[in-house]
């Protein structure tokens, strides 16, 4: 049963002002004098309460740095919340940071296998769908060459084809609609539509306010890690636009 429940979820990053902490600084610097490289606390998410049930299509909107992607990565289990209680039930598939996690010396075919294995697949299940992934990526003979020779667009196409080859219960999407060239984008949109239809529930992060009402039935507006509003898509977008729209300055 696909379901997401967040209760008072908070995530605080502890980052250093400059580079990483060195052993010398840890052993000497902090004991005898005030650190020149203090820890800064960044509250990426605070007090987020949210319940997403089966059938929901939730759009997450907000300005840059509002915590949208952090929320998605927290739902995916990549980040663990520092406060609150989180329950994510169902098989999760996430579409973010698609260009990461390739073995550049391995071929496209091999990378299809590795990425699928990471998601818990076996050689038998991968054999069944590798051709479909290859066909969708349209990379043809390039799949026989190491991915170090791929262009950025080719890499994302392959990643998209692999990531969307599974049938998820919980689908998490972060701004991946601009994949590859125009022709591939149309194909990607169609694939996304199919996935969204099949997934039991979906959470999508986007800046494209036009597409949110078409895809989502609910929306959440985040601002500096806080949840400003949650409810029907149109109402949330209208509220966001009224507050977040750039102020016109008289000439």
């Amino acid at each position: 049963m696909a379901r997401i429940v967040l209760e008072e979820i908070g995530l605080t990053f502890r980052v250093r002002q400059r580079t990483k902490l060195t052993l010398k600084e840890f052993l000497v610097g902090q004991m005898f004098r005030r650190s020149l490289n203090p820890i800064l606390k960044v509250h990426a998410l605070s007090g987020v309460n949210l319940t997403v049930e089966r059938g929901d299509r939730l759009g997450v909107i907000g300005h840059n740095g509002a915590g949208k992607s952090t929320l998605l990565k927290t739902l995916a289990g990549v980040y663990q919340p520092t406060h609150g209680k989180m329950v994510v039930d169902g098989r999760v598939s996430s579409l973010f940071d698609l260009a990461l996690g390739f073995e550049i010396d391995a071929t496209g075919w091999e990378n299809i296998a590795y990425r699928s294995y990471l998601q818990g697949e076996t050689p038998r299940t991968v054999r069944g769908k590798r051709q479909a992934i290859a066909d969708f990526s349209e990379l043809g003979a390039f799949l026989n060459t190491p991915v170090r020779y791929y262009s950025a667009g080719m890499l994302v196409r392959l990643a998209f084809a692999i990531a969307t080859s599974i049938d998820p219960e919980v689908l998490l999407i972060d701004e991946v609609l601009s994949v590859g060239d125009l022709a591939f984008q149309a194909k990607a949109r169609a694939r996304m539509g199919e996935m969204v239809d099949r997934a039991h529930l979906m959470v999508m992060v986007t800046h494209d306010l036009e597409s949110v009402p078409k895809v989502c039935n609910r929306a959440v507006w985040l601002d500096h890690g806080h949840m400003m509003m949650e409810g029907p898509t149109e109402a949330v977008i209208a509220a966001y636009k009224s507050l977040a729209a750039p102020v016109k300055v008289a000439a």
Partner: protein
Amino acid sequence: MQGLSTYFKEIWRRRYFWLSLVKVDLRSRYRGSAFGIGWSLLHPIAMTTILCVVFSTMMKTEITDFAPYLMAGLTFWQFVTCSSLLGCECFFAGEGYIRQHPAPMAIYPLRTVLGAAFHFTLGFLLVIVLTLICHGAGFLGVAPLLSLIPTFALLLIFAWSLAILFGLANVRFRDLKHISDVGFQGLFYLTPIMYPEDWLENRRYITVLFHLNPFMPFLHLLRAPVCYNAVAAPETFLAATLITVATASAATAAMYWQERKIIFHL
């Protein structure tokens, strides 16, 4: 305890993933090299030959006794240092995957250690061949050879634990790899790899250090079969097991504490 068994089940569920990465690492290490995997065999052979020529004249020992002793020590040392020093980088090497998917973090140090274990196994097969050349085909008994199986298993867990500890520490303190590099060089000379163990007897502090050296039981377990055609004493197995359990417990505790914090430090 249940959490630990679920954790290992998750690691096992992704076995095809980390085994594939080990294969990629091994392949890319020798990519474009004409001699390929042969280099990993040639390295201990060359080192043993050079050191044998230099030291056997100094130490007045039989080269046939000294060569397997030396090569077993060098192969072991190579495994331990590779697991620890390459282990320092293991989470950075897996960063792309860590940022995408919440798989158990222990698979990344395991990837490093299995790569090193492959070279160690090849190297130790050479040690066995060298022993047979030096002492004759009938030298090695079945029991001493079989005793190497639990030794290898202990060593694998010990090295995995070391890689976890070094990997986690290096994520926090990037200087660690360089410090460890120097530290392992010092330890190399304090451990009887290139010289007989009796050199360290009756030398006050050095002798104390020698008896506290956690690598010694493993060296004895590896050398007893190939150098003396014997199974190591039960006390040696017990010591190696205790050291492995202690290191693995420390690694488990550290992983439990740091598992979900690593990503914030990459």
